[in-house]
Assembly symmetry: C2
Homo-oligomer: 245 residues x 2
């Protein structure tokens, strides 16, 4: 038995994303700072955003609506329509920013794709993610692009059925332990964790890694092909050892 | 040759949707009427919504952001934060309303599913559409659920490849000529049009039906099974007549 399919996360794995959200949040805080003197405007915004996730799902449009709602709450409804419009424009900026690939990722995907079929598995807003995939120039590298509403064990289990692979034949590459690594390892798959320099607070709530021996961590995309092949070798030896037969 | 797969649209075909959007728009117009005396507030909102479609895609979150932007523009930035918050709540109401099935559709889907595999093909917000599918109780009837960002000929052609069917083996059921019927007929497939009592202005911009003989129109869901079987018979005779061999 060996790895037969490699999945890649998109935001902060193929291209920069969280920086833009951080920047929008900083601008949001500057706008509301014109009304109230608060240290915790960012935390209050994050609390509203988190509460709204169950209704809005992930993505820039939901975040923008949460910023607007938070702006009204934080300023006790004193914020001007012009400043509300500026917050809408922050959201539009998130949807419009050019796609900037992570250094070395194009080459890493191409290298891995010579040995394994690769698929893209990303969560969030369908329309925005499709636009970024198109703009990235990487769409042709991926045999399949799956945009899902949540990346948990149930979603990966469904994808494995659709992809017709066993969990132990699947390896996921991504920056989020919570969304890319932990659920795949929990199902018996493999993971390569490539942390991004900033991580959304929501994604930091990961819990423990279930089976660290099935995971590698790399600092740079150029290390990805080696890490994938190393885990592939582990997968082969695990399932050809006498005890596993 | 015959029909091997039947697709169903979701909004306004399986369950009511446009009514809720109409209602939200009417409430939006009442809010801005507190600031300006305009006959065309709805048209101005629709123009902004249409311009934003290329950035936001379809769905309640994008519509809500467009209403907020339109409210600032129409009131010349005089709208209060409290009224902006009310507009956000209109959007949340759109995402929260209970799923109300079209009368007779559950039985029609079950009937058609005895003879044909059925798939759901819907556009719009991934998170919201998944929630509605879950809540509808119809998820089990559909072998596959495809949520796409646009329902045009290119999307249907991609789906036919994924479903491994020829266009002439596919029949689509839906309320929108523009999104459900015209592109499928243009590719050589079949369609059953079931108009809803109201149609979003955007969906009314359909152009002509390319081949009306490959389409039936029904007024009520209870007529769907007969219409599908009638077109299936047409498909069979078309491809078993001597000239078509």
């Amino acid at each position: 038995m060996s790895i037969r399919l490699v999945g890649f996360d998109a935001d902060d794995t193929l291209w920069r994303s969280e920086d833009y959200y951080r920047d929008a949040q900083a601008q949001f805080e500057r706008i509301v700072a014109g009304y109230v003197d608060l240290d915790d405007a960012g935390d209050r915004m994050h609390a509203i955003e988190k509460r709204n996730l169950a209704l809005f799902g992930y993505g820039a449009k939901g975040m923008t609506l949460s910023m607007l709602e938070a702006a009204v709450a934080i300023t006790e409804a004193r914020i001007s329509a012009a400043d509300m419009h500026s917050i809408i424009d922050l959201g539009k900026g998130l949807l419009r920013h050019p796609v900037e690939l992570i250094p070395g990722i194009r080459e890493a995907v191409a290298d891995i794709a010579t040995d394994f079929p690769v698929v893209l598995v990303t969560k969030g807003d369908l329309f925005h993610q499709e636009a970024k995939v198109r703009e990235s120039g990487l769409a042709d590298a991926f045999g399949r692009i799956e945009i899902v509403s949540e990346k948990d064990a149930a979603t990966y289990a469904r994808l494995f059925r659709e992809f017709a692979v066993e969990p132990r034949e699947f390896l996921m590459v991504g920056n989020s332990l919570r969304s890319d690594i932990v659920p795949v390892l929990a199902l018996g798959g493999w993971g390569v964790h490539m942390p991004y320099h900033v991580t959304w607070a929501h994604e930091r709530e990961a819990g423990g890694v279930p089976d660290p021996s099935r995971m590698r961590e790399v600092a740079h995309a150029c290390e990805l092909p080696h890490a994938v092949r190393e885990l592939h070798a582990s997968a082969q030896s695990a399932f050809t050892s006498p005890n596993a037969r």
